[in-house]
Amino acid sequence: MSVMTDQSTPHQSHVLSQDVKMGGSVPFWAVFKRELGLYFRSPVAYAIAFAMLFFLGVLFNGYLSQALDAQAGVLADAGYMPFLLTFLLFLIAPLLTMRLLAEEAREGTLEVLMTLPMHEGQFIIGKFLAAWAYYTVLLLLTLVHFLVLNSIGTPDMGQTFGAYLGAWLYGGAVIAVCMIWTAVTEDQIIAAFLSAATVLVLYLADVAALFITNTNPQLAEFVRELGLSAHYGSTMAAGIIRLEDILYFVFMIIGALFITTRIVETRRWRA
């Protein structure tokens, strides 16, 4: 059964339209393709990529000359670049995500999306995957630094893998958290600021934990484990792949996307 009914014969089309049968559709895939395409056509996305690569390049250059001066064996630390990238995520992720839902809400296109036969979760997942895919491209671009390191030293392959896998999951978690704020407000700037603030808080959780570690060590440990740094900087960036760290990022992604979906649903109830 096809929806391709002939409009010129009203009777027939009426009969067929009563039992329109659609092909198997994967709505999130359509959303994903559109959003990813937008990143590659958007000047903002290229500006982000340029700024990030430029900044990382300058730091990498400084790191290299310092390491060469020292003539020490620290040269081949392949975890350094992914580590810096994860720090920069508090700037990158809000810029990548601020548009995703806020713009649809402001332009009113969310209303159309929500009257299509698609669950809210589908387009939120589609949009999230698109942002994550774009981040993945950025991450792969930083492999340039690894190639340079590889040509002048001998980086630890295990550490490299762990650091990049960790940076990838880290990015997914941060992007998912930023999705919450773009669902909350129609204002992209507010979404970006709140996202950046949230990511910084999560990033600095281990610093906060240091302050209370003397008064309440258990709480301090809890706060530290909640933060992003405890699951990347000292473990995966150093090539130590722990299941708990991977689960932390995966649950962060699932949890944040779940919250985002609920927020979009509630907006609809109040709309």
Partner: protein
């Protein structure tokens, strides 16, 4: 087929739609008529599955809008009031996107078909932001037709168009009404009269009247105000009529060019025969005696006036909000 039963939507204390019931039949254009803020958009949003009702129920193409939202969405084409579109996409690209989400097969060919249907095939590859308001409206309409739904819900499709585009769109709506269940809202009364097989009048979240334009006109013969003209001395005639049973007031209205506007005392009373007998019996030359409202515009004002009068009687001076309604009467 759209069946709405006692549908209500509240935002906190405020009820935007209060127990609305009506049906829209296949093969007919049903007009949803009311002033701005009457609850038209809210009702339509509930019918499309965009927002859930607070209470009451509605069935679209046989499926409940709340419990079977996905089935309803598959069978409804919806044009939202503001015609939200992705401005950076081409008309065809946008249709492809919506079609892919909907799971329409051969989506490219189907997109071309509907673009052709709304007369926009030559602008298929233009970016939406370069299209005129009327063209965007048609892109929105193409989107609603894309999956060939049995039910079409169009929220103020003619708003913001130039007179020629309005005529085009009205004829398209009439045309589509023949093989769809078509519900469309408007605040333009003459439009509803021209296009609709059935009119549902909504005001302040409540349905004031419904029926075919002809039926509404007929109903107005009962309970509505009456216009009477006599050849000479209208004041004396008004004095006479005022004394009759079933007449609440009779005043000479300078706006009506010396006609006498008679208000019946009850909603269901029609004192016309008594008035005619009396006037003629007294030897006064009767020129005209008819319901005041003859076109939909007047009917609409009459219905909203009656509603306001009833409310004032019921609530007395309890709420000052009634002021706005009496103004519109």
């Amino acid at each position: 087929m759209i069946e709405v039963d006692n549908l209500t939507k509240r935002y906190g204390e405020v009820a935007a739609v209060k127990g609305v019931s009506f049906t829209a039949q296949p093969g007919q254009v049903t007009g949803f008529l009311g002033p701005n803020g009457a609850g038209k958009t809210t009702t339509m949003r509930m019918l499309t599955g965009y927002m859930p009702p607070t209470s009451g129920s509605a069935k679209v193409a046989g499926f409940d809008v709340f419990d079977q939202s996905m089935q309803v969405r598959q069978r409804v084409g919806y044009l939202a009031e503001s015609v939200p579109l992705y401005r950076d996409m081409t008309a065809r690209g946008y249709l492809m996107y919506v079609g892919e989400i909907r799971g329409v097969r051969n989506v490219g060919r189907r997109a071309d078909e509907v673009l052709d249907r709304v007369g926009l095939i030559d602008r298929a590859h233009s970016r939406i932001r370069t299209l005129s308001k009327g063209m965007r409206q048609r892109v929105g309409l193409a989107q609603a037709l894309l999956h060939n739904p049995p039910v079409l819900i169009l929220d103020e499709p003619t708003i913001g168009l130039d007179p020629y585009q309005v005529l085009e769109l009205r004829s398209l709506v009439r045309d589509l009404g023949r093989d769809h269940t078509l519900l469309f809202s408007t605040h333009i009364l003459s439009e509803a009269e021209q296009v609709c097989d059935k009119v549902v009048i909504i005001n302040q979240g409540e349905i004031t009247a419904q029926g075919s334009p002809a039926e509404l006109r007929h109903d107005m013969a009962r309970g509505g105000r009456i216009l009477m003209r006599v050849q000479s001395d209208p004041e004396a005639a008004a004095e006479l009529v005022r004394e009759l049973p079933g007449v609440e007031s009779a005043v000479v209205d300078p706006v009506m060019d010396g006609g006498i506007v008679i208000t019946p005392s009850g909603v269901n009373s029609d004192p016309r025969t008594v008035i005619a007998d009396t006037i003629i019996g007294k030897g006064i030359k009767l020129v005209e005696l008819r319901p005041l409202a003859v076109n939909l515009e007047e009917i609409f004002l009459e219905f909203t006036r009656q509603q306001a009068v009833n409310e004032i009687a019921a609530e007395a001076a309890e709420q000052a909000s009634a002021d706005a309604e009496t103004e519109s009467a």
